[in-house]
C-alpha cells in the first residue's frame, strides 16, 4: 500500500511544512513572539513573483530569487519599523503589532494589486514529471525536497559554525546574558527576522507553485500549517519545528490515503483530532527543550 509515490508525496509535504514551521519558530525562539504576519511574508513572495514578471521579462530563476529577496526585505523592514519600537513594552504589544502588520500587508495587496487571484509565472520544469523507479514523480516535488534539505543543512551550518549562529542559539537560551557578553540585541533579532523572511520567500515559491496563482489571503493557510507543526513538534526548538512539519506532512498524507472517498473532505477535521490528542498526551510537543529561555524584556 505504501508506494514510492506515496513516500515522495509525504516527504515533499513534510519538507515544505518543516520549512514553513522553521520560519515561525526562529523568531519565536528569541522574541517569544508568535508572528501572525509570517503568512503575509509568504504572500508577499508570491506577489513579488507576479509583479516583477509583469514589469521585466527576466529568466524565471532570477524572478524567483528576487521574490525571495523581497520577502526577506519585507520581514526585515517590519522588524525595523513595526516590532522594534514596541519590543521593550510587552509581549501583548508585540502580538497585536503582528496582527496589525498582517492586516496591513493583506490590504496593501488588495489595494495595490487586486482582490482576485493573479497568475504567477512558473517554469516548464514545475509541470513536468520524471520517472523514478517506475513512478512518475513531479519535478516540483523533487525540487521541494532538495531545496528544503539544502536549507536545513545551511541553517545547521550557520547555527553551529558561525559566531552569529551561536549567538542566535544563545539568545534563545538567555537573551539578557547574550547581551551582557556584547552581542547587540538588534543584531540577533534582525538576523532572526531575515532568516524568517528567507524561509517565507522560499516557501512562497513552492506554495504558489502548487496552484500557479496568488491571492491576498494566501498566507493564512501556511500560517495555520506552521502553528499546527509547532504544536506537534514543540514551539521551543528548531528541531521541534522540523519534526513537527514532517509529522504533519506524513499524517496528512496517510489520512489522504486511508480515508474513504466520502470522508476526504474532512481530512482537516481528522488532522485536528490528532493534534488535540498530541496536545493531551504531550502538551509541550514531541521535542521538548528544557533549556528554552524567557521572553526578551
Amino acid at each position: 500500500m505504501i508506494t514510492l509515490d506515496f513516500l515522495i508525496n509525504a516527504i515533499t509535504l513534510g519538507s515544505l511544512y518543516a520549512l514553513i514551521a522553521l520560519g515561525l519558530v526562529i523568531v519565536y525562539g528569541i522574541l517569544k513572539l508568535a508572528n501572525f504576519a509570517y503568512g503575509e511574508f509568504i504572500m508577499v513572495g508570491g506577489y513579488a513573483l507576479y509583479m516583477i514578471s509583469t514589469i521585466a521579462p527576466l529568466p524565471w530563476l532570477i524572478l524567483a530569487i528576487l521574490a525571495v529577496l523581497t520577502a526577506v526585505a519585507v520581514s526585515y523592514f517590519t522588524e525595523l519599523i513595526a516590532f522594534r519600537p514596541v519590543r521593550e513594552k510587552s509581549l501583548t504589544a508585540l502580538l497585536i503589532t503582528s496582527f496589525a502588520v498582517s492586516t496591513l500587508l493583506q490590504n496593501a495587496a488588495l489595494i495595490i494589486v487586486s482582490p482576485r487571484a493573479k497568475a504567477v509565472p512558473l517554469p516548464q520544469l514545475f509541470s513536468t514529471s520524471i520517472n523514478i523507479l517506475g513512478s512518475d514523480v513531479p519535478v516540483r516535488n523533487v525540487l521541494t525536497i532538495i531545496t528544503a534539505f539544502a536549507i536545513f543543512g545551511l541553517l545547521t551550518l550557520l547555527l553551529r559554525k558561525t559566531v552569529l549562529g551561536i549567538a542566535l542559539r544563545a539568545a534563545a537560551d538567555n537573551f539578557k546574558m547574550t547581551r551582557m557578553l556584547g552581542v547587540p540585541a538588534n543584531l540577533v533579532i534582525s538576523a532572526a527576522f531575515i532568516i524568517s523572511g528567507l524561509l517565507a520567500g522560499v516557501v512562497s515559491i513552492f506554495w504558489v507553485g502548487r496552484t500557479a496563482s496568488v491571492t491576498p489571503t494566501i498566507g493564512a493557510a501556511p500560517l495555520l500549517v506552521a502553528f499546527i507543526a509547532c504544536v506537534i513538534g514543540g514551539m521551543n526548538s528548531l528541531l521541534g519545528a522540523v519534526v513537527g512539519g514532517f509529522v504533519y506532512g506524513f499524517l496528512f498524507s496517510f489520512l489522504s490515503l486511508l480515508l474513504p472517498q466520502g470522508l476526504l473532505d474532512y481530512r482537516e477535521a481528522f488532522m485536528f483530532v490528532i493534534v488535540i490528542l498530541i496536545l493531551l498526551f504531550r502538551p509541550e510537543g514531541l521535542i521538548r527543550n528544557k533549556y528554552s529561555g524567557e521572553r526578551v524584556g
Binding site: N174, L181, G182
Partner: protein, 241 residues
Amino acid sequence: MLTLTNIHAKYGSITALRGISLEVKEGEMVALIGVNGAGKSTTLATIAGTLKPAQGTITFQGVSLVGSKPEQIVRKGIALVPEGRDIFPSLTVEENLRLGAFTRNDRAEYKRDMDEMFALFPILKNRLNQLGGTLSGGEQQQLAIARALMSHPKLLMLDEPSLGLAPTLVDQIFELIVTLHQRGVTILLVEQNVERSLEIVDRAYLLNTGRLEVEGTPAQLQERIDIQGIYLGQHKGRNSL
C-alpha cells in the same frame, strides 16, 4: 575607576536602591555585603546596564555609563558573572567561551585566551564539547567566570560566586578570585559568605534595604559590624561572622 553617585533604582513600583554611592579604584578588590534584598545584585545590574537607574550617575574610567546598553558596557571593559551563573545550557562549553570572546575579533588571541582558560580551569578542557546544561554547579561557575574573562574585562563583577557550591569548591572559587586579583583584574564582589569575603578584599560596603550602611577596610568594617552587628546577625547568625 568606577564611581556610583546617589544611585536610585526601581523594579516597577518597588524601590530597590535609595541613593547608593560607591567607588572601585583600579586594581582594587571591593565587596558588597548585606542581607538578601539589600540591593547588592541590583547595584550590579545598574552597572551592567540591565537595569536603568531612576536617578544618579555611574562613571567608568571617566565616561558615563547611564543610558548605555548592556552590549555597549561590556565593550567598555566591564564583565558580570551573574548570580546563578547564567551559562547557556544548550550550547557547548566551547560555544559558551566563544561567545564570551564576542567583543574580540582576533583569532590568534582567542586561541591564546582559550589555553589560558584551560590552565586556570583544567576541568573545562575535558568538558569542551559537552553541553553547558550538563555541567555540575561548580563547573558551571568556573565556566561562567572563564566566559567573563574571555572579554578581557578591566572590571570583573562577581555575583554570589560561591552560592550553592560544596565547601571544597567554595575554597577553590575564593582561591581563584584571589589569583585573578593578583593578576591585576579589578574585582567587585557580591557575596553572602561575608567572613570569607572580608578575608580577601581591600574594602567593603555594607548595604541595607537599598542604602549604604558602612564602608571601609575589612578591619574597620569588622569593628563597626560589632556595633551594628544586628544587621548581619539578624539574618546570618553569629557564626557566619
